[in-house]
Amino acid sequence: MYRYDEFDERFVRERVAQFRDQVARRLDGSLSDDEFKPLRLKNGVYLQLHAYMLRIAVPYGTLASRQLRQLALIADRYDRGYGHFTTRQNMQFNWPKLRDVPDILGLLADVEMHCIQTSGNCIRNVTADHFAGVAADELEDPRPTAELIRQWSSLHPEFSYLPRKFKIAVTGAEHDRAAVKVHDIGLRILKHPQTGEIGYEVIVGGGLGRTPLIGKVVRDFLPKDELLAYLEAAMRVYNLEGRRDNKYKARVKILVHEIGVEEFRKRVEEEYAKLNGPSINADPAEVERIAAYFAPPTYEKLPGDSKAYAAQRATNAAFAQWADASVFKHRIPGYAALTISLKTIGEAPGDITSAQMRAVADLAEKYSFDELRVTHMQNVVLPHVKQSDLFAIWNALREAGLAEANVGLVTDIIACPGLDYCALATARSIPIAQAIAKRFQDQQRQRDIGPLGIKISGCINACGHHHVGNIGILGLEKNGVENYQITLGGDATENAAIGDRLGPGIDADEVPDAIERLVDVYLNQRLKDEPFIDTVRRVGVAPFKDAFLAKDSSKTEEAEHAVA
């Protein structure tokens, strides 16, 4: 893991002191509300419905045990004993008091954490594949790249007042688990087809929100050592030409969309040609220093398949089912990357109590080289566990209430906090997720349905990524009532797609039935072992739309009966 050097340490400490002073000046009236607001946002402090909210950066989703324990301490001392993992791999606390935030930031700095650039019109926390460094399908660990971008973008003087927020994601794997095509910039580490050199495919202009768009490839191949200068050129084009007159059109996706990818590429290349690359690109020694922090841990030499694990699986069906859902193939024989579901049926997606944080931190320390990952799916990963330890981990997770066997299944639902917490929300998300999870909680049925991603947002800003859900749910207000639009066929992977709306919005209590009708169409239409999204692609939206709208016809029939 990356460790702060003296400059990082000093920078974060100074920032805490500055914010303490800014809070004091707000309270004595030296700073107006208008002056203070951007300052608090740049330190991750929002004002939500019931309280302030503090968003803590978890760079590229990587956490050490001591950091998660510190988050548990903050949850107990300054919040309500729990936190919430977000779709940007960050953690949010829902109840901090402004008076306590400087102290909380101090506690975070003690464990090399901060809230800088988790809000505001700047380059936000860089996200990465949560299986970085361990996935069998990976070419190269994306985290050194993500860390390099974090350092370059932190307080970058030219890019601290962008037209709008800017989100970057990096993957080094064949399969995209970081949703790079729906980011402002997505980077995919790849090998040059002719030379075999490692570099980046640069994708620009993806995004969700009120105008969902899939990113376009602006550079097929960018040599690795040219990254920062090229990013600088792309950011400069955006910074100069992005729409500052209309916040709804201010993201880079709108610029790329309006002028076209060829024109955008041309402008970036022109800017790039003018830049003094060597003065911007990172010193190779610094790149090496950063990369060294992400060197693989010292794995044991183990047989590819643990006999103990096989025996435990054979004698305990519940354990085997949990492992089937939760274990991801590790590139090192005998090891597994383990996803811990934060989607216990009946709980809020992504919420974790302080006791659970400590339990997970203990497991990471004991079994996973002290390392954890947060996923954009709002789950947690122990990236390096021995297969032979899985049974002990399962038992510990059961005690902690964290052994739900639903990773990647229909009840592993992404949901933003929605109107239960968020001041921007137009409807609730969490109760919808809870109701669907309850409806599909039967283990056998979930396994039978197989991989299916439901994603829920409580407003058009799409923090719950509903556009790229296999089934997406968007909560809106209609005539003073919460109303939910359903989309189908979205995909956040390398096959990125925006879902199609199935029809008019429906009431909250109609959502589980609607999802059930869509699942029934899939079960009737699927070919052997065909996942939900593939069936949707093969048969098209029409049969699903018919089933979705069927509730209206049944209502009409009822009405006709009533009249008759």
Binding site: L27, A348, D420
Partner: protein, 108 residues
């Protein structure tokens, strides 16, 4: 001068406490955390008074994000916001009845 457009009456005035961030209700000359103690404005002069109170409290660094919310009055004479957003703001997260005002003020 035309009267500025405001929510239909009756209304209460709510805000967030600057230091703590939690929701507070105007009592006309002070602030309460108990929604049943909120002053209910049935007429424009009372609503004006609540808004003047909020303006002064904002200027004095006591509250932020203050605004009038139209309410229904229950049989006990207590105000309930008509819009679901403001109802949640008054109560707390609907998935966590153990948190927010709903946990403290059991009658809600």
């Amino acid at each position: 001068m035309s009267t500025p457009k405001r929510v239909p009456l009756p209304a209460i005035l709510l805000a967030n406490d600057l230091l703590d961030g939690d929701v507070v209700f105007s009592t006309g000359d002070g602030w309460t955390r108990d929604p049943s103690e909120a002053v209910i404005a049935y007429d424009d002069p009372t609503a004006d008074k609540l808004e003047a109170h909020a303006k002064a409290a904002f200027a004095a660094q006591q509250v932020v994000d203050a605004y009038l919310v139209d309410v229904a009055i229950d049989a006990q004479g207590r105000p309930t916001p008509r819009h679901f957003r403001e109802r949640f703001k008054t109560l707390g997260p609907s998935n966590r009845p153990d948190l927010g005002k709903q946990a403290v003020y059991r009658a809600l």
